[in-house]
């Protein structure tokens, strides 16, 4: 490169006159301070650094309060593990939902995918003589395909996720009715022909507690997804796309591929939920979980994951599902009417997210 001269003269001070003093400049730019002002502010700051703690604290407080109101029955190992069983399906759906929400989407079709896949696996294994393992593989493939279909509309046709899944929800719902003829598959028929479908309903007991494999499955799903999201490049890309899709694309992320993978994985997780739901419910019912879509969203937001994407830990959704479960169990044991249970869950959603907002306010 010897021949290129340019206008910059080597080894001499460069730039305009006034820049010659820069050599002595100081490196400090801003002051930092470590002591937050008050007590509440200290709490706020502490939680701000660790926002996943918020749902954990809400959960602990809720358990404590209902322990006081509803008494010993609530606190029994049996009841606490029962809550775990009762939230396991909505919990797994909430994990699938979280993936979408982290990309700034929302999925109104998760429960519809799940029910459709349980109907498919059930019909194949129980009535059509297909080996159970194969039937399950078909359901997994089907769930992933349903997710990818959502992902296709979101990425290639550029439809907003809300609209896409509002549409596919109807589509999956209709297919489900069509395939099942609105008929449930009975527990006894499953036991006879495809007991493996009910695997996740089994479990073990100790000291009065009863833990089903389904509950453990839910926890495992969350841990695996947490690892993928936080410890792999793929996970970082998911957060980046959710945070600012255009910026991520300019930075070289193939946002469409990332989104497709997220939707596909989410559909796969819905198929896992489908399997688990057969164990939980005992039979395969095309009519169940009609409100599962909104319930999974409730768990996600109560768990502090931002609907704007890119912010929040997927573990929050686990705690969110547990909080809702604890609430419902506590209210029931306290003999509150279903009506007022619905009412209370409404306030829970508002309150939980309000606390979360308060914590986040620190940085504004």
């Amino acid at each position: 490169m010897g021949e290129t001269a340019g206008s910059s003269v080597q080894n001499e001070p460069r730039g305009q006159d006034f820049e010659q003093v820069l050599g002595q400049s100081d490196a400090r730019l801003a002051r930092f301070e470590d002591r937050p002002p008050g007590l509440i502010a200290a709490l706020q700051h502490g939680l701000h650094g660790n926002p996943t703690l918020v749902p954990v604290i809400v959960l602990v407080v809720a358990i404590a309060v209902f322990g006081l109101i509803a008494g010993g029955k609530f606190f029994s190992p049996f009841n606490l593990t029962l809550i775990l069983q009762q939230v396991s399906i909505i919990g797994i759906l909430a994990a699938a939902q979280s993936l979408i929400v982290l990309t700034a989407g929302i999925d109104l079709s998760v429960a519809a995918i799940m029910v459709l896949m349980s109907v498919i696996a059930g019909n194949l294994a129980v009535f059509m003589g297909v080996p159970t393992v194969l039937a399950l593989l078909v359901a997994f493939a089907g769930g992933s395909a349903a997710g990818l279909m959502n992902g296709f509309f979101v990425t290639k046709v550029k439809l907003p996720p809300f609209i896409t899944t509002l549409g596919t929800w109807s589509i999956f719902f209709a297919l489900n009715l069509w395939l099942s003829g609105a008929q449930s598959i009975r527990s006894q028929d499953i036991d006879r022909n495809a007991p493996l479908l009910k695997f996740w309903g089994e479990g073990f007991a100790f000291f009065g507690a009863r833990v089903t494999y389904g509950s453990l499955l839910m926890i495992a799903v969350f841990l695996v997804l947490w690892y993928l999201l936080n410890r792999t490049a793929w996970g970082r890309h998911v957060y980046a796309v959710g945070d600012d899709r255009e910026a991520a694309e300019l930075a070289g992320i193939q946002a469409d591929r990332v989104l497709l993978s997220v939707y596909g994985l989410s559909g796969f997780v819905c198929a896992i939920a489908a399997w688990a739901s057969i164990g939980r419910v005992g039979s395969i019912s095309p009519q169940s979980f009609y409100e599962g879509n909104l319930q999974s969203i409730t768990a996600v937001v109560v768990g502090g994951i931002s609907l704007f994407g890119g912010r929040g830990s997927i573990l929050g959704a686990l705690f969110g599902a547990l909080i809702v479960g604890v609430f419902q169990s506590g209210l029931r044991l306290a003999n509150v009417d279903v009506l007022w249970q619905v009412f209370a869950i409404g306030w829970l959603i508002i309150l939980a997210v309000a606390i979360d907002q308060w914590i986040r306010k620190v940085s504004r």
Binding site: L82, G201, S288
Partner: protein, 314 residues
């Protein structure tokens, strides 16, 4: 040619699917052009109203309808009748019942009473009962309270207001919970009531899917032999569950009959303008209920599950 409409509450419930089958078969047999409609979910009043209007627009001769809301659908069927269309309520009566030209239905209160009486007789010692009631949903619609209250009355419990679920104060009632009429709800509701009192030994369920869910919950904690489950409907899977010992007794209804009678009535009306007449002493045509159990009790006529399997929802 004669046109007729069948409007059911939903398409997601086998009960209505059966009804549709019955109506379609009969209509084909009698050369009637049948259009079928349904709400998307239970309580979907708007879709049913729109369906009635479409039937009026299409110039149908008769409408068979299971109203999602006994009162809310009355005005629109009034319009249909003004247009000289025969309106027959199936399964769920209107309020007032004469909002329709006729009603072909099960007596739901009686269905409840039947299984209540059976349970009381079967248990031998009704005083030691601990009863869990698994109802439909928070809205407390008429089938819901009629069956629930009928059951309690049949069992011998003072039900106070017969339209209000849960206002009784008999200590034998452990509690009520809602199931949305499906297995998942049945299971969760049963678990919840077991939490209140693990000694539950009698379980009333709004329908057979809820019963199946309740059984799963009991089985999970090894209490399936402690509690007796009773239900309403008589769908084939339900009857099968009676045979399998999941359900102790169920009150069978006849949706297919409701539908085919309905179609016949429309054909008659189209031919010479005759309208169906109500059963004696009732404001509806009782299509009957039959108790199905494999453990018959004294003084209560019933059929076995084996017999029932031949006529389930026929």
């Amino acid at each position: 040619d004669v046109g007729a409409c069948l409007i059911t509450k939903t398409d997601t419930n086998p009960f209505f699917v059966k009804m549709k089958e019955g109506a379609s078969a009969k209509a084909a047999e009698m050369g009637i052009a049948l259009s079928t409609y349904a709400g998307k979910i239970d309580g979907d009043v708007e879709t049913q109203i729109a369906a009635v209007e479409s039937c009026i627009a299409a110039g149908a001769k008769g409408i068979l309808i299971t109203p999602s809301d006994s009162r809310a659908l009355a005005p629109v069927v009034g319009k249909a009748r003004e247009a000289n269309i025969l309106v027959i309520a199936l399964d769920t009566p209107f309020e007032p019942a004469d909002a329709a030209d006729a009603t072909f239905a099960t007596d739901n209160f009686m269905a409840g009473e039947m299984i209540g009486k059976w349970a009381a007789a079967k248990m031998g010692d009704p005083a030691g009962a601990k009863i869990a009631l698994l109802d439909l949903n928070p809205s407390e619609v008429s089938v819901d309270y009629l069956r629930d209250q009928g059951f309690l009355q049949g069992f011998g419990i003072d039900i106070k207001d017969p339209k209000d679920i849960g206002d009784e104060d008999d200590p034998r009632v452990v509690g009520h919970d809602v199931t949305n009429g499906n297995e998942e709800g049945g299971r969760t509701a049963m678990e919840n009531l077991l939490q209140k009192d693990s000694g539950v030994n009698l379980v009333y369920t709004i329908n057979e899917p809820a019963a199946a869910g309740a059984y799963e919950a009991l089985k999970a904690v090894g209490l399936e032999h402690q509690a007796l489950i009773v239900s309403v409907d008589g769908g084939c899977p339900g009857v099968q569950n009676v045979a399998d010992g999941v359900i102790g007794a169920t009150a069978m209804q006849f949706p297919l009959l409701m539908a085919s009678n309905g179609i016949e009535a429309i054909a008659a009306y189209a031919a010479d303008g005759t309208k169906p007449v109500n059963s004696e002493g009732l404001d509806f045509v009782n299509t009957g209920v039959t108790l199905v159990t494999d453990a018959p009790v004294e003084g209560l006529p019933s059929i076995s599950s084996e017999e029932a399997l031949h006529q389930c929802w026929g």
